[in-house]
Subunit: 690 residues, 2 copies
């Protein structure tokens, strides 16, 4: 996952993989194709027409587009959605955004202005935060621009990212769930795969070009660049790239962190998630619509559960502990020989800080698992911050952040139910109560009587959940109250927020202070690591952090298990083979008929004598890359990356050559639009090249 | 699964598969290599030294060799067994045999002498049985010879098989279970596979060459031919054959039979087996040794359960009902045009008889699930038959059969426990009681009060199991009693045998009469089928029936699922990959160390850069083929066939080109003997060619 600027340094390697054009194109964010690549915040996407059409994954539009637009009368999961004309397009849930990266440049010195290695940690935290706020304020020179200070290498480097924020995004096309998530949780992270994980959105702006919330008068955003789609597609061995916004990797950790994650953290997370799934299964019901409301959270839990389980297996299969221990020992021996006394002391302190944090982490997982309480805390805090000048407010509570809070409140309407929120909170609270009191928040524990019989705790929880603020509407009212008004309220939810406010501030400060110290120590560690990498002639790149990245490689099957090889392409016939009629293997009748009739049209790929559905490549991606354009050497869209493989998902911790990216083939998208949907308006708009 | 004589007719096809030598060798049972191929009764095997050494599967020696020789002090499953010298070899459980086929020739006319199409069915049954007995008696001209009348094509053809029966068989080598059944039930019928499913036995005869029970003075049997072992092994694409004794296939059924099996029978069997496994799990215990005693029965149930489940899936995946319906309709339309009125009438009657049998079959499954009661019935019957002249006795109760009965009684000692036998019987009896009384045996039902409250049934069952005959020792005494003595006994088990004897005779007669009719009708059906096959120029071969067969083909991987291909070979590394330390994936430490050290010796196969463990070929085998020699075009042993693949196990009903045979590679056997066991005496005896 290279930063675009690194492509210039990788010319030789990229050429060796089969790329023949001008590489410097890739390192310039303003150039095609980089300028066609956008973020949806959590997912990646790309422009695919001059009229603001955007291609991404089906699973990236499930929440804000499909769930938001579905109700008992009209279930978009069941029937899918095709806008036959612009006016039919469906608007998004509040807060859905398209982010176009405009600029990115280093600003480490500015972020760290006024601090040095001796600055007290709390002061450091506050100065750095003020610096960041100032930098962002200076940068955000128009309402459509959003600026972010991004930390690279755990805060050793900072970059300023300037993005265009498009606020009116609409659903153009999504297949039915039985295509878009064919195989569901069973096939998730698995290959062979047959998922039609594609969807189309459109970005809108006002007529004067400014970005604006949904408005009928808005016009499609005309991107300077967009990707053409290849109907010829790729073949086995072809050069491919993925351009997108990978979220997070952990490849530059200390060994203490890796070891803890592998030996303690993974297992604890598995337990936490498993219970979460059980709780939703137990309490969310079809009848009252809560099953739909918690569909997203549950599938998030399931997804993460499977991922962690895969990481546990992968760590074992690829001998991660052993190999990372070796790597670490080599590094330590390099440090012992080459580092100064001061550098060694910093490293020692970092490892101790990490060990301390590990001790507290498990209890923390079980603290604060109430969406309701988290939200009231934020709203209460917001009321306090609003008393201050905007520039003096805590980041997250400034004017620019108000919209995000409003959107969180609105989301209560479609992904929250007080009854279920309470059940989840209660269950987590019971676990929390079982941790040693030194690891728990005293005031919070006292409020919920965690030292006493749990029946008393239940009574307190029930009291809190008898609040009148349990819905999006009532919370919107709450948002309007001043801090005085809140402080004089006797609503039990507000009382809770008030009584635990100071404690929250204490823990926030503690965490910020530790964070600032860790940032300093980590940056020292990274500097050592850099010189060590240089000494062994190894290239270093920053862990994924949600910024635009490039990965290049080839279409390629893989052998992960003795005696079995995964072929690079799956076929339409594979869909029929898996079909049982029972979700998630309930392919549509028309789809099955077309497959039976071998009606491949021009989308056939001869070597497999079918339309390719999904394909494998040795590209290096992670979460956040979902929806990323997979492009060929001519920068044409050939697929959409949507998943990795469970067997190698541990690659978040270490690059693994056998890791594979699963993309949905663009030919399957085109075939679906053509044969299945007859969506000629969309096909006409796409620029399809052969 | 061709009969050897057919190889002459298949010259062209065998040549096309890559065979270059004299094919007529294969059609002559007295020639090498056919004369090296033996049966163990249920399993196949082959001579691999001039000194009577025999290679077969590990799973073929589990019961009579490993279980028989294991006890609390010495567990051969755990540690395996290597006889470092002849004197160390372990003797077998009573009744273990090696059968060498000497001759096979058609005798249909002799079997059907004295009957014609108009003979009454019961008379037909009795005449045919008398004919068979006479034929066998004439054939068995010395004590070491066993003769069998074998039915081919459902009794359309009969052949007389003359076999040499070797009675002293000893265990020479078996790996520990964690090699011999690595992967256990989980991997059973699966690929990729890593099972060391090999073992070595030795056949002994008396010094004068006559076959005799175990005796220290016995000497190794010197087979006229034996297979050399190839350490060069086979490569992908190579010509291979399997020579062995496949047990049973159902490829020449009427559509009524196929349809019933697929739509009713399979599901009923699955239910029956699943319950059987549960019952053993529930009642057999480690502490009192019953877990070990029922290990065999349970693994038989599990094996069959998995097989049937695979057949259900395979029938669906390969569209069996639809394709067989089509085939049947073509046949029927041929019959309508070409057959005589009489032939059509016979066919109609056959289909009606089959439908009638189907009606009765389910209830019959639940009748008689007590090993104890089955055995006492046989012993009681034996006492009655013994009053007659040997030649007049029912087949199965003649002097020649006494040994088999004695062995059954002995087996009570190591694979029977009265408590568990009773629990299984009771549970099955409850199901039996729920069938309509018209489908149940009235006297038996009355004896166990099946029309009344089941608590009363339990009392009756408890009474029967309070018999003094619950062990091998007491049954041996029982065997000595005359029928008068038995009839005067008040032992509840003997009383049961006495009271249900007449009813048993009635049902036996009914079944024989129906069987005789079916044999006539089936032979008419087969004659029609032959002419139909001729009309469409298709070769016909008899269903597997436990007689010596040949199948030829090539070493070949396979794709059974979209996007996945199975490679033809698995490697030593795959063993380590699957190893978890938990049974059945608990490879031995020494094995893992050798793999880690890549200590392949001369057994390495370059294209996979490892020692091949198991390999795939497109050979056509079924149960009974276990232990069969897989040989190359030079007739050298290159592996031992031990399994098929679940996905294509439905091939018992129809030949499927994608079906694969899994063999354990001879190089893995040699590597194990060499590197793991240091069994130089055995390696010296084997004739290893490169």
């Amino acid at each position: 996952m290279w930063e675009p600027y690194q492509m210039d340094e990788l010319k030789k390697e990229v050429r060796a993989a089969g790329f023949k054009r001008n590489i410097s194109n890739l390192s310039n964010l303003f150039n095609h194709p980089m300028s066609a690549i956008v973020s949806l915040g959590g997912c990646s996407a790309s422009f695919v027409s001059p009229e603001g059409l955007i291609a991404t994954n089906y699973h990236c539009v499930e929440g804000s587009f499909l769930q938001f637009n579905s109700n008992k009368e009209e279930n978009l999961f069941e029937r899918g959605f095709v806008a036959r004309e612009r006016g039919d397009e469906k608007k998004s849930a509040p807060g859905a955004r398209v982010y176009v990266t405009l600029e990115s440049f280093e600003i480490t010195d500015k972020v760290l202005e006024g601090v040095n290695d001796l600055t007290d940690s709390l002061a450091r935290a506050s100065i750095v935060q003020e610096n960041k706020k100032r930098i962002i304020k200076e940068c955000e020179d128009s309402p459509e621009i959003e600026c972010r200070v991004r930390s690279f290498f755990s805060g050793e480097t900072y970059k300023l990212e300037k993005v265009l924020k498009i606020k009116d995004v609409r659903l153009v096309y999504a297949p039915p769930a039985h295509t878009g998530e064919y195989g569901g949780e069973i096939d998730n992270w698995m290959y062979p795969r047959h998922t039609g994980d594609f969807a189309l959105l459109r970005a809108y702006v006002s007529e004067d070009g400014s970005t604006q919330e949904f408005n009928k008068a808005n016009v499609p955003y005309k991107s300077e660049s967009y990707l053409k789609i290849s109907s010829a597609g790729i073949e086995e061995g072809d050069f491919v790239m993925v351009l997108g916004y990978p979220g997070r990797t952990n490849r530059l950790l200390t060994f203490n962190e890796i070891k803890w994650d592998l030996e303690v953290g993974f297992a604890a997370t598995v337990k936490f998630l498993k219970r979460g799934i059980e709780l939703i299964d137990e309490h969310a019901k079809e009848e009252d619509g809560t099953k739909l409301k918690y569909r997203g959270l549950k599938s998030g839990y399931e997804n993460y559960f499977k991922k962690i389980s895969g990481q546990i297996d992968g760590a074992k299969n690829f001998d991660l502990i052993q190999s990372e221990q070796g790597t670490w020992e080599d590094f330590v021996s390099y440090v012992n020989t080459n580092a100064s006394h001061e550098e060694k002391t910093y490293l020692q302190e970092l490892l101790e800080l990490i060990d301390q944090e590990h001790k507290e982490r498990l209890a923390r997982t079980y603290y604060g698992n109430s969406k309701l309480i988290s939200l009231v805390n934020r709203v209460y805090r917001n009321a306090i911050e609003k008393e201050k000048l905007d520039s003096e407010r805590k980041s997250g509570y400034q004017d620019r952040d108000q919209e995000r809070m409003t959107n969180s409140i609105r989301s209560l309407a479609y992904s929250f139910d007080a009854r279920i929120d309470k059940e989840i909170f209660l269950d987590r609270l019971r676990d929390y109560s079982e941790f040693d009191s030194s690891l728990r928040r005293p005031k919070f524990s006292q409020f919920f009587k965690l030292e006493q019989d749990f029946e008393l705790t239940k009574t307190e929880v029930n009291k809190v959940y008898s609040s009148r603020y349990l819905s999006a509407e009532s919370f919107s009212e709450l948002m309007k109250l001043s801090i005085e008004e809140m402080n004089s309220s006797s609503d039990p939810l507000i009382v809770l927020a008030k009584e635990t406010y100071e404690e929250s501030m204490y823990y926030e400060e503690k965490s910020e202070s530790e964070g600032a110290r860790r940032q300093l120590l980590k940056s020292k560690f990274i500097k050592l690591l850099r010189t060590y990498y240089q000494s062994i002639d190894k290239q270093i790149y920053a862990d994924a952090n949600g910024t635009l990245r490039v990965t290049y490689g080839n279409v390629k099957g893989v052998t992960l298990q003795d005696g079995v090889s995964y072929k690079p392409f799956t076929t339409l016939e594979g869909i029929a083979q898996k079909h049982t009629g029972v979700e998630p293997f309930n392919a549509g009748k028309k789809l099955l008929d077309l497959i039976k009739a071998k009606d491949y049209g021009k989308y056939v790929y001869k070597p497999i004598n079918s339309v390719p559905v999904n394909f494998l490549s040795d590209l290096d991606i992670t979460g956040g890359n979902s929806g990323s354009a997979t492009i060929n050497a001519k920068f044409e869209l050939v697929g959409l990356a949507f998943d990795g493989m469970l067997e190698t998902i541990i690659s978040d911790y270490k690059y693994i050559p056998q890791a594979r990216t699963i993309s949905v083939d663009a030919r399957y998208l085109l075939w679906t639009l053509d044969k299945l949907e007859g969506a000629e308006n969309i096909l006409d708009e796409l620029v399809i090249v052969n």
